[in-house]
Symmetry: C2
Subunit: 366 residues, 2 copies
Amino acid sequence: MTEEQEFHVFSAEYLKDFSAKVFLHFGIPQDDAEQAADVLARSDLRGIDSHGVARLHTYFDMLTLGRINSKPNIKIVREKTSVAAVDGDNGLGLVVGPKANEIAMEKAEKYGSGWVSVCNSNHFGIAGYYPLKALERDLIGWAMTNSTKLVAPLWGAERMLGTNPIAVAFPGYKEPPIVIDMATSAAAYGKIEIALRNKSRLPRGWIIDKNGRMAIDPQKMVDGGALLPLGSERESGGHKGYALGAMVDILCCVLSGANWGPFAPPFALRQEIPTRSVGKGIGHFFGAMRIDGFIDKEEFKKQIDEWIHVFRSTKPAPGTSGPLIPGDPEREAEAVRSREGIPLIKPVVNDLLDISRQTGIPFTAS
Amino acid sequence: MTEEQEFHVFSAEYLKDFSAKVFLHFGIPQDDAEQAADVLARSDLRGIDSHGVARLHTYFDMLTLGRINSKPNIKIVREKTSVAAVDGDNGLGLVVGPKANEIAMEKAEKYGSGWVSVCNSNHFGIAGYYPLKALERDLIGWAMTNSTKLVAPLWGAERMLGTNPIAVAFPGYKEPPIVIDMATSAAAYGKIEIALRNKSRLPRGWIIDKNGRMAIDPQKMVDGGALLPLGSERESGGHKGYALGAMVDILCCVLSGANWGPFAPPFALRQEIPTRSVGKGIGHFFGAMRIDGFIDKEEFKKQIDEWIHVFRSTKPAPGTSGPLIPGDPEREAEAVRSREGIPLIKPVVNDLLDISRQTGIPFTAS
């Protein structure tokens, strides 16, 4: 049995409680600490292991070194009816993100839509968290963020963009919502890490080496290579994934005054520090729209149900059970993990035990 | 020399004038006829041949049969400050699109942003036309549309979505704007048609056959196959292209009350008529945002210039001259074609000559 397969199982509540206590330990106010812990727990519940408590040690490191402001003064620095720019005052992205998203949702309720670009923030967890909050208020929600450089633009031979995700969600009536949450790279960095641990090869189209040549050895990524944008090569639409990554970069960073492109600050201590700063922190972009500003809300939701039924009954491709609806895998993971708990691999458990030792906050591996 | 390579060259003004006269012939008001002709000419100028006068005969056919309303009463059917739904009254998309985009831009000027979902329309030309209009008013512009079904969702074996493009544009200061205009399919249908004429094979990842199997023979597309979404297969992110196509479908159609998914009405007479109608016509979605609602406009534009400089100086991948900036190819085509004219292939010239014969509007092939 490899380390990869050895799991310890915890309830989401236990992990959330531990995370909140860790944030409190650094003087983060109670509400903010619980909010931040909620974003991490939701990620673990939804099966996006890379963005849950697996990242707690990185937040811990940054807070220990004072690189993140535990009591940020998050404020609107400019606004015009349905739009605003927010300065996150170098707070946790897990705190800044929800507050900025709240501003977008309030604007949507008042003015039909709300759009907020955020600078001076840090990594905000899974993008999908934010439109899920919008759904609770019967709004269509959007979220995007830039992140540390990992992706080469098409025809480039170096990392210039983050995996810059786009998330959007639409509510159903009796059906669960349609929830899109996708990086604009061809593959997630987490998949390269898994291949590294398993010593397996990558499919062509995921990465290039440090000279810009297509590579299938995951070690080439570590040795100065880059992820490819969605679409991978010119022929298969790599220019489109690059364009989407650029769009996210501009909406999150150029529009807010954050560090765009290769200048995004590092998320973790081991990462390279950019040569220049062109703004403040990393950037996010949130949106919310009132459905009944366009159409009767019930009519919209019933059509979404019908859309889901029609797409689920698409003739299946050979060897598949037919198309999924965006958000299906995460919703299914959430159902299972709410019931059965969250499986953490040994290295993540060790990280949490290490935090426990350093802070005195109890943590017991099952 | 194949028919493909035999070009006749016309000035954009000559083609625009001819198109406008054809629209006038059907009783379309002067301003609308000129507007519609402008969308087609801009497409030809920007090198997107498939969406320019090459489509005039299709519009001509639809107008001849009375399938498009030449004097539509385009109106806002619902609104809430920054958002609105518009009914295009079955007008030409080339007329409905610009009017709805105008509403989005006016809202943006007043309320920081404007978002308009449109039903009961027809094909609106290139999506990029609309954000280019927003740039003239110093706004960030967005446009999306659904279209006749051609694309299979990932793991589906039939056509369920249009190529559903997304266009977004950002203004530069001294640099030309960044203009994104991309279909959410892996490849454009036009590329399949070219391969059919040239009797060449397709790259893997563009199409599936009628049974949902990956295909490289373009004839398989004609024989009931489908285009694949951006990303092509699961491994390379095909679920992401499908999710983007779904997002466009919902914003354009479910939110406006248009025909979504496989129920989009046919663009051309030879196309299959959907089995059901779930709304009115096809749908579009337009957006506009005021830059100075977020950040100083000059500061934004100067950062866009810097973004462009930094991305142009990315280390190039082998065999390339480095990354392009989205919109480069179309802008370069526009510069050349404004000067040297628009090359049309023989079948397109024959279409225009046929319209001339049927309407008595003079058209002279050079």
